[in-house]
C-alpha cells in the first residue's frame, strides 16, 4: 500500500492532480489482481490518497508457469503484502497521467513544488536504512523509517527486513511518483517480470534528469536492472550522454564492491599466472583442471601452445556449460575441440578419464570440500590418476587478518569448509605426498604480508622416480 498526502490550501485538489475523485473509491483491474484508490483523509489543509494492491496469493502461485522466478511465486510469499515492482506497475497504470505531470484543470499546481509526503508500507529493504537515506536524501526528501522484528515471539531472529518508509519534501507530484516508480524495485530487488533491454528504456524515461545527477546512480541502475552487467553499462552510458558534464568514474555500490573486490580480481590473475608458470616449468603438455568451474584457468592456458591437450572437469554441469561458452567450444573447429575437453566428474570418485595427464591443477577447490573427504580426493588423484605433477592451491588463512571483517575466524567465502594456515597446508600436502610417492614443494601466490604470508598458497606435487 502506498499513501500520498498533500498539505496545503484546498488539499482536496490532490484529487485533480491524481485524476482520482476523492469521494469515489475506485477499483482497477490489473493483470495479476486489483488495485484500489480511496482517500482515508480529506480536510481543508490535508488530503491523503491510498493506492492499495489486492493480489490473490494462491492464484499468484498457481497462475504462473512452473519454475518462473525461482520461488518468487511460491505459496508462502511476501509479494501480496509488500510494496514491490507490482506497486510500480500499479502506479504507472493508475496514476499514469499524474506521473507525466499533466493536469487538465490544475496544471499550475501540477507544475509546482508542493508539500507532499508518501508512505510506502512494507518495503522489503535490502541494503539497510542508510541506503534509503543516501538514495532519497539527494532527491530532497526527509526520510522516516519504521522497522519491525521478524517475529516478536523470537527476538533472536532479528528484524524482518521490511520498512515502512515515509518521505516528506517540497516536490512536484509527478517527480514523487517517478521516484517511487524507479526506487521501490531498487530496494525490493525482486522484479516479478523478466528484465530485458526495454527496462533500460523505462529507467531512462522515468529516471531521466534526476537520475543522471544522482550520486548513487550506478547503484540505482545496478539494482533496477537486476545486476545485469550489459544492461547496467548501457544505462550508465546513456545517462552519461544525457549529462554531458559527467566524466567521473562511477563507483560501485558498497554491496557490489564487496561481492567482487578489485583485490580478488588481481589475486585471481596472480594465481593463474603462478599456475601457468609452474606448468611451463614442468614442461607439461597434457593438463587437466580439476574443478574448472566456468573455465577461467583453461581460458588462460589455452592461449599457450605448449599445452597440447587441456581438459576441464567440474562437478557442476551448469559450470561446464558456462565454461563451454567461455571457451567458445560449441562451434569451434575440430582442432580446438580435440585440444580442449570438458566433462563432469567429481574429486571424490576414482575416474579413469583422469589418467594419463602430465599435470593436474586443483586451483582453489579443496577448501570447498569437507575435510574428511580429502582422503578420497588424495586417493583418486595421487593414488589412481597419478599425473606426473599436481598443482594444488588454497587460501592462506593467516592472511585473513588483512581482510576487513574476516577477524574472529570467519572464512573468505560462505562455501569454504575450511581454510588452512601455511603450516596446516604443508602438513597435509607432505603427508599425502609421502603416502603416494610424490614430492611436494610450496610457493606463495599474491603479494605476501611480512607477518601473515601470501593471500593464497600453492603446493606442487611431483611424482618420484
Amino acid at each position: 500500500m502506498l499513501t500520498i498526502t498533500y498539505e496545503g490550501e484546498n488539499a482536496a485538489d490532490l484529487g485533480y492532480l491524481l485524476h482520482k475523485f476523492p469521494y469515489r473509491p475506485q477499483e482497477f483491474q490489473l493483470n495479476w489482481g486489483k488495485a484500489y484508490v480511496f482517500y482515508p483523509e480529506i480536510s481543508e489543509r490535508r488530503a491523503t490518497a491510498a493506492l492499495l494492491l489486492d493480489m490473490d496469493p494462491v492464484g499468484l502461485a498457481r497462475g504462473r508457469g512452473r519454475g518462473g522466478g525461482a520461488g518468487l511465486f511460491d505459496y508462502v510469499n511476501d509479494r501480496p503484502y509488500v510494496s514491490s515492482s507490482f506497486m510500480s506497475v500499479a502506479i504507472a497504470k493508475v496514476f499514469g497521467t499524474a506521473m507525466s505531470g499533466r493536469s487538465e484543470s490544475r496544471q499550475e499546481l501540477a507544475d509546482s513544488l508542493l508539500e507532499l509526503s508518501a508512505s510506502v508500507a512494507m518495503l522489503p529493504c535490502r541494503g539497510g536504512r542508510e541506503m534509503l537515506e543516501s538514495v532519497f536524501g539527494p532527491l530532497g526528501y526527509g526520510v522516516a523509517i519504521e522497522t519491525f522484528p521478524a517475529d516478536e515471539m523470537f527476538p533472536s531472529w532479528g528484524g524482518s527486513g521490511h520498512v515502512c518508509l515515509t518521505l516528506r519534501g517540497m516536490v512536484r507530484l509527478s517527480d514523487l511518483l517517478n521516484h517511487l516508480y524507479v526506487l521501490i524495485p531498487v530496494f525490493d530487488s525482486r522484479k516479478h517480470y523478466w528484465v530485458g533491454e526495454d527496462e533500460v528504456a523505462k529507467l531512462l524515461r522515468h529516471g531521466g534528469q534526476w537520475l543522471s545527477e544522482h550520486p548513487m546512480k550506478a547503484f540505482i541502475a545496478e539494482r533496477y536492472l537486476k545486476r545485469s552487467r550489459p544492461l547496467v553499462n548501457m544505462a550508465l552510458e546513456r545517462l552519461a550522454e544525457a549529462n554531458a558534464a559527467d566524466g567521473e568514474i562511477l563507483p560501485l555500490g558498497p554491496e557490489e564492491a564487496s561481492d567482487f573486490p578489485e583485490r580478488a580480481r588481481s589475486l585471481n590473475a596472480a594465481r593463474y599466472g603462478a599456475v601457468a608458470a609452474e606448468l611451463k616449468a614442468l614442461s607439461a603438455r597434457k593438463v587437466v583442471d580439476l574443478g574448472c568451474g566456468a573455465g577461467g584457468l583453461l581460458a588462460f592456458l589455452v592461449r599457450d601452445s605448449q599445452f597440447s591437450s587441456l581438459a576441464g572437469m567440474d562437478v557442476s554441469s551448469d559450470a561446464l556449460e558456462r565454461a563451454e561458452e567461455r571457451l567458445k567450444l560449441k562451434d569451434a573447429g575440430d582442432f580446438l575441440r580435440g585440444r580442449v575437453k570438458l566433462f563432469q566428474g567429481s574429486l571424490a570418485y576414482r575416474d579413469g578419464r583422469l589418467e594419463g595427464y602430465d599435470a593436474a591443477c586443483v586451483v582453489e577447490v579443496i577448501e570447498h570440500m569437507d575435510e574428511p573427504r580429502l582422503e578420497a580426493f588424495a586417493k583418486s588423484l595421487l593414488g589412481h590418476a597419478r599425473p606426473r605433477a599436481a598443482i594444488v592451491t588454497t587460501p592462506n588463512r593467516e592472511y585473513n587478518a588483512r581482510f576487513p571483517g574476516l577477524d574472529g575466524g570467519k572464512l573468505r567465502h560462505a562455501d569454504h569448509r575450511f581454510e588452512w594456515t601455511r603450516a596446516e597446508f604443508r602438513d597435509w600436502a607432505e603427508t599425502v605426498a609421502a603416502r603416494f610417492g610424490y614430492g611436494a614443494r610450496f610457493s606463495d601466490i599474491g603479494e605476501p604480508d611480512p607477518a601473515h604470508g601470501p593471500p593464497s598458497q600453492m603446493a606442487v606435487f611431483t611424482l618420484c622416480g
Binding site: 476523492p22 496469493p57 505459496y75 501480496p80 563432469q344 570418485y349 573427504r373
Partner: protein, 865 residues
Amino acid sequence: MRIEIPQLSVVALVGASGCGKSTFAGRHFLPTEVLSSDFFRGLISDDESDQKVTPQAFETLYYIANRRLDLGRLTVIDATNVQKDARAQVLKLARDQDCHAVAIVLDIPEKVCQARNAARSDRTVPASVVARHSDALRRSIRHLRKEGFRYVHVLKGQEEVDACEIVRAPLWNDKRELEGPFDVIGDVHGCYGELCALLAKLGYSVAPDAFDAVPPAGRTAVFLGDLCDRGPRNVAVLRLVMNMTRVGRALCVPGNHDVKLLRMLGGGAVKPTHGIDRTKAEFSAVDGEFAGEVEAFLRGLVSHYVLDGGRLVVSHAGLKEKYQGRGSPRVRNFCLYGETTGETDEFGLPVLLPWADEYRGGALVVYGHTPVLEPELVNNTICIDTGCVFGGKLTAFRYPERETVQVAAFSEHYPPVRPLKPPRVGSAAPDDLLRIEDVLGIRRISTRLRKVVKINAENSAAALEVMSRFAADPHWLIYLPPAMSPCETSQLPGFLEHPEEAFSYYASHGAEQCVCEEKHMGSRAVVVCSRDAGSAARRFGVGDGSSGIVHTRTGRHFFDDPADRDAILSRLRASLDASGFWERFSTDWVCLDCEIMPWSAKAQKLLEDRYAAVGRAGRTGLAAVGETIARAIETLSAAAPPDGASAPSLSPPPAPMLDLSGLLERFRAREDALESYVNAYRRYCWDVKGPEDYRIAPFHLLATEGRIWFSESHLWHMKTLGEFVAGRDPVFIATDHRMVDLKDRGSVSGAVKWWEDLTGSGGEGMVVKPLDFVPMKGSSLLQPAVKCRGREYLRIIYGPEYLLGNGMELLKKRSLSRKRGLALDEFALGIESLERFVRNEPLRSVHECVFGVLALESEPVDPRL
C-alpha cells in the same frame, strides 16, 4: 559325420570361394552367430565384392566378434580363411577372449568351386582367385593344429559337408547344472587330521583309515587345491580326495602345489622348496601304481568350475569375471597362481595383483591360495585359505548357506612364510574409493522389491554435485529415506487432506489394519550409531575417528558442529547401553529413522527469511491496510463532497465504484489468516541452546549387524523403540500412535477423531502405514506410508490464506501420481541399500542405491506434496 565343438568358441570356416561356406553356416548356426566378410563389405560399401573396403570390413567384423565374445556368445568367422595371416587374426581373437579356436575346413574340389562361382548371378570371383584359394587351402590343412586351432575338422568333399552334424559341448569347467549344496574346503596342504575333523564337523561320515568320507545327503565337497606339500600327511590327503572325486562325492580344482607335484611325478625337475620335499619323501614310500594314479588324477583336474547356474565359481587362486567359464592357458595360470606382477615381496613370494579388490562379477568366487587369518569377504569373493598348515585353521565354506565351518590346526606344521593378514570386510574393504562410472549416466539399479529402478542421466548429474559437495562421507551413508506421498486429495469442503482418504486407499488395496503415527514437525534424519569409534572404523571403514552420524534426507550432516553430533550420539549410546540394546540385538551399531525437533533448529534461515518475513509483512501490512480503509469509510461518511467538487471531468473515465466496507471485511479476514499462520509455524520453533533442547523421535529401527528389520510390523517398531531407545533421556521421545481396524467403522472414526484432536491443537498431522512394513498387493508394492496433514499446518505449505476465497478449489487440482511413483522407487532403493550393507556388500554397491535415491530426489515434483 558328427563333430563336437565347445559351446563357447571361435569357429573359423576355412575354404575357397564357392566351396559353400555360407550355405554350411546357415545350416548349422544362427544367422546372428555368423559374421561374414562379404556381409560386412556390403554393410560398409553397399557392394559385397568391393575388395577396396576389405580392411574396414574386417575391422568392423572383429569389433563385433569381440563384443559377442565378451558376452560369451559363440562366433563363426565366415571368410575364406585360407591364408595363414587371415587365420592369425582368428586365433588372436580366440586368445584375447580366452576361448578355443575351432577350424572347420570345407575341402571341396577346385572345379566344383569354379563351377559354382561361374553360375552365380549376383557376383563372380575371378577364376584365378578361386584357384589361388584352393592352392592355399591344400597347403594349409595340415598346419592348422600347429597354428593354434584347438579343434580341426576337415570335411572332405560335398558328401561329407552335407552329412555333417554339429554338436555343441559345454566346456569342462561348466558345471552350471550342479546346484549343490556344496562344502568348499580351503588349502589342505597335507593336514589330513584336520581335514578328517573338518569333514566330520560338516556331517560327513569319515573313514580315516579307508581314506574315504560320505557327505550328508545331497551335499558335495569341493576342494580348492593345494592338497599337498608342507603338511604331515600329503599322500593320505591325496588318497581321500581322489577317492571322493572318483565317485562324485567331491569336486577338486588344482592348486599350484598340485601342479608342481604333477611335474615332479612326470619326471620334471622341481626345486625342493615350499614344502614339496615332504611330499616327495612320502612318495618314495608308495608304489608306482599309486603314483601313476595321482599323476592321472592331477592331469585331469580342470582349472576352475562354474557352478549353480553361474552363481558360484571355485578356483584355487580366484578368478576375474572375464576369465570365468573360459578356457585358455592364461585362465589356467590365473587359477593356479593369481595374476602376478613379476615382482617378489620381502619374503621372496610373488607379488599378486589384488584382483578381488577390483572384482565386479555377479558370481560368488570362493578361493584360497593366499593365507589369511579369517575368511576375507571382498566384493563377492571369499578367500578361505586360513593357513591350517601354518598353525591357523582349516576352513570350509557352506554354500548356499554362506556359513564357514572351521577346525583349528592341530599344530604349526610348517613355519609361516609370512605373517597371516587380518581380513577386511564389506564397506571397510579396500575397494572403498568409489568410481565415477558407478554413479554417472543412465543407471539401472536392481532391487529386490521393484526389480529395476532406472535413474536418468540428468538426475545422476544433479546428484553428483550434491553428493560430492555437500553430503557426508559415503561410508556413513547406508540409507536415505524415501519421499512420502500425501493421501489423496480430500473431497470434503475446507479440507485438502483428510484421514478418510488414507484409510480408503489401504482398505481398497487389501490391507486390514493400519498404524497411525503422529507426524512430528521437525526435520527428517537418519542416525547411525556405533558402540565406539573402533567398531565404526571396522564396520563402516570410516577413517576420521567418528563413531556415528546424524544426517539429513539428502545425506548432509545434520549438525554443522561435530561436537553437537557427538553429544547427541553419546546420549543415544547411553540409552542403548542402559537398555541392553547391543546385547539384545547382538550388534555394535544401529541405524534409526528419526524426526529431529525443533523445526527451527534446521530451518532457522528459512524461517527468518521466508516464514517469519511473510508473517511480518502480512500482519503489519494488512493491519495498516485495515486501519486505512476504516479511516476512509469514516471520512466518506462524515463529509459530503464540498460544493463544486462533484464529479470533475476526469480522464480516463471513472472506474467502478468500490464498496469499502466489503473490502474492509475481506482484509480483516486476511489479517486473521495471517495470525493463524504465524501461530502455526511458531509451534515448531524453540531456541536450542544445547543438545538437551533437541527432541528426537525415532520411528523405524532400520538395521543392526547382519539384519534389517523391515520384516517386523510398524507396531513392533514402535514398541521396540519405545522399550530400548525412548524415555530414558528426555531428548529421545516415543511417537504417539494407534492401531486402526479398517473393517471396523468405529475404529476408523476413532482414528479420524484422534487426527482432528491432534491437528486441532497444532500438530502437523499423522502418517498412516499399513501394519506390514513392506506392503504388497499381489506382486506390486503399495505405498509404504501416506501422510495426512492438518488444516492449520498446511498454511505453512500452501500459504497463510489458502483457506480463503476460492484458493482451495485450485489447490485440490493436484496430481499425486509422480510423487507416488518416486516414493515407491525410493523405498525400494532404501531397503536395497540396507540389505546390501548388512550382507557386507562393497561400498559401491550400497552407494549405488543411496546415490539413486538422491538422484530421484532431483526429479522435479511439486515440493508441497
